[in-house]
Amino acid sequence: MIWTLRTLFIAVVCLAFTGVLAASIWTIADKPSPVNLPQLLSENLDRSGVEHPVTAVLLNFRSYDTLLEIGVLVIAGIAGISMAKTATLEDPELRTSDSLLYALQRWFVPLMLVLAGYLLWAGSDRPGGAFQAGAVLAATGVLMRLGGIPMEFLRPGRLLRLGLALGFTVFLLVAVASAIGGEAFLAYPPGITKTLIVIIESVLTLSIAMVLLALFVSAPVNDAEDSEEGSSS
């Protein structure tokens, strides 16, 4: 009884919330916004170094967002591997030796690697970019892991931590180099903007794939424990 009443109450609250939100959206949608950001953006696009506006926003106009966003990914990766207490993140039990999977893998892994490369390159003038490429790359890694291909670099050692931090580090170094060069923090020097963005995108792809794969692999667990503060067990 109480359960039903509670469900009913929550349902009513959520319905009311949806209604108010939809009404608000309906009202807002009628009026044009006072600032025309897309126009401002297209006026400045040729100074950004890339042709695709979304990539320009991500890696030039609002690059600070992207820098912090990669930081968030790295945090998730760190917190994830901090849960794994063994010397290796690989759990042999989770490998499947399915012959179909194995056959599929031989076709798919190279294909997916090429696709990741294409997505990365496409980002400069059409939809695509570091994150999409990184996601495909991570999916390749997941497929390889399921098929039992050993991946030594996934030990929680220095190599993995270096891989997690690589994209972030390069991004940060470019940001600081621009500050040392006398521009503002995160401003790319004119002329080599495109080169820098391509470099950043490539290392970001690797790092994003690495973080996602590390999180996928570190989800299985073992029994190591830490004693709670104060309990002298």
Binding site: L21, A23, S24, I25, T27, I28, A29, K31, S33, P34, V35, L37, L40, L41, N44, N60, F61, R62, S63, Y64, D65, L67, L68, E69, G71, V72, V74, I75, A76, I78, A79, S82, M83, K85, R158, R161, L164, A165, F168, T169, L172, A175, V176, A179, G182, E183, A184, F185, L186, A187, Y188, A224, E225, D226, S227, E228, E229, G230, S231, S232
Partner: protein, 489 residues
């Protein structure tokens, strides 16, 4: 010069996060202490610059708002940057000694610590709605990672609850951001505020502000959305609890306060302002009451945080449709409350960690006899308590005094009752800890003695909280500084 300070402020925490990720705990500690030095110097330098020349806007990447992300470097922001530098260095110093370097997973403490710090700096300086969201997530995820570090079931339970609450809060905030962008076409808070001063308020814009403030209130653990806070703050390692209580909850409150002060007058209304104030008052009473009834020492301190956060939300009614001077008084009172609570609560958690380390149990009744053995830590705990009880000359007293004046002058006398009851109840839970520790225990004196430096750190913080009341004039004068000439830094 300013360029260097800004780059240093934004760059050092992120760079040190990477550096410490590549080392083990012991080496990470040395690297961190070096980084703390840099960060403190840079924060102090920026504070002095702003105190001398006034605030400015700083466009990142050379792009100004609304196209790029602008940082707002004003007196309030640099004061909080400096506060963060003080509290975080104290916690970092304490953690380096307190945390066991032999557990392999403790190496991940340092990178998370530095990411947390960089997120805090991003939030204090942020003036872009979406950038603030990313900053908040940076803070939340690293805080959750710090709580979960060690991976015990109870810690995971607390951190999962914390994570889900934080994520829901962020989504509500982001939904508000989406509505704001749809309505105004810009993400710059200053841009929206200046447009609103010249034009009539468009219909349907109140919901965006309400959603954002509700989400942030959940992240700040405003009553009745506070249940996630005590387990998370209680179970984390003491330096982590200190960071969470002193700084992390303040970040989301800071954004809510900034939004309210810039946009509350046109977009808010009287009922919601009074309602938020009422919830804050309920938090003061209910949090203090529960703090009196907890059996675990750190739970007492954590519930005390719920109560002290409640005071902060009195900002909303005390700045809505009141005279300029009352509003300023309320803002100053709340700022002092944030600073004094940050210092006092960090001191309290660190001292509590020492006490727990010494008696080997986290229960309040296990403290019996510790007064003879660890008087220094207990004294720090008490000094911090003086600030929470708002006795003169502490910063807490100065803060409550300003709030009292603001309530009386705006005719909202009912908040005075909250201030009085809250003060009495906080005295009750602080004295309860003292009573427990002055009891003589029949058992033998099996106490472990923590390192001397562990005891010094909370004492310094507690003294700072206590002395804040004496220098509140100077602190507040920097915050009230006007902006430089509009536009270029």
């Amino acid at each position: 010069m300013t360029l260097w300070l800004m780059a240093g402020l934004l760059f050092t925490p992120l760079a040190w996060a990477v550096l410490t990720l590549l080392t083990d705990f012991a080496r990470g500690r040395l690297v961190t202490w070096g980084g703390i030095l840099v960060q403190v110097l840079v924060s102090l330098g920026l504070w002095l610059t702003v105190a001398r020349d006034g605030g400015f806007y700083y466009g990142l990447g050379g792009w100004d708002a609304p196209l790029g992300i602008e940082l707002r470097v004003d007196g309030l922001a640099v004061t909080f940057v400096l506060l963060t530098a003080v509290v975080a260095s104290a916690c970092g110093w304490h953690a380096g000694i307190y945390i066991d370097p032999d557990k392999p997973w403790h190496r991940y403490f340092w990178p998370l610590f530095w990411f947390l710090w960089s997120g805090l700096n991003a939030v204090w300086l942020g003036d872009d709605l979406f950038n603030l969201y990313v900053g908040l997530e940076l803070i939340s995820l690293s805080a959750v990672g710090l709580v979960a570090l060690g991976g015990k079931a109870s810690a995971l339970r607390a951190s999962l609850r914390y994570l889900l609450a934080a994520l829901l809060g962020s989504l509500a905030y982001l939904l508000g951001v989406a509505l704001m962008y749809g309505q105004f076409g810009t993400l710059s808070i200053a841009g929206i505020a200046s447009w609103l001063t010249e034009h009539p308020v468009p219909a349907g814009s109140g919901l965006a502000l309400a959603l954002m403030i509700a989400g942030l209130a959940l992240k700040t653990a405003l009553f009745p959305l506070h249940q996630w806070l005590p387990p998370a703050h209680g179970i984390a390692k003491s330096p982590v609890s200190a960071l969470l209580s002193a700084l992390v909850v303040k970040a989301s409150f800071y954004i809510a306060a900034r939004l309210w002060l810039e946009l509350g007058e046109p977009l808010g209304n009287l009922v919601s302002a009074q309602l938020v104030g009422l919830l804050g008052s309920a938090a003061v009473v209910w949090g203090s009451w529960l703090a009196c009834r907890q059996l675990q020492l750190k739970q007492v301190v954590a519930y005390s945080s719920v109560a002290q956060i409640g005071y902060l939300f009195l900002l909303f009614p005390l700045t809505y449709s009141v005279s300029e001077s009352v509003s300023l008084q309320a803002q100053q009172g709340i700022t002092l409350q944030v600073i004094s609570h940050a210092l006092a609560k960090a001191a309290m958690f660190l001292a509590a960690g020492n006490l727990i380390l010494s008696v080997g149990s986290s229960r309040v009744d296990a403290l019996a006899g510790v007064s003879r053995f660890l008087p220094f830590s207990l004294f720090s705990f008490g000094l911090a308590g003086v600030s929470l009880m708002s006795l003169p000359p502490s910063g807490g007293f100065a803060a409550k005094w300003l709030l009292l004046q603001a309530s009386l002058e705006s005719g909202q006398w009912w908040w005075v009752l909250v201030l009085l009851v809250g003060g009495l109840l906080s005295a009750a839970y602080v004295f309860r800890i003292f009573r427990a520790s002055f009891l003589e225990s029949p058992e033998s004196d099996q106490f472990y003695h923590p390192a001397r430096s562990l005891e010094v750190i909370p004492m310094i913080l507690a003294l700072l909280a206590l002395g804040l009341g004496l220098v509140s004039e100077q602190v507040l004068s920097v915050m009230a500084l006007p902006f430089e000439v509009e536009g270029s830094p």
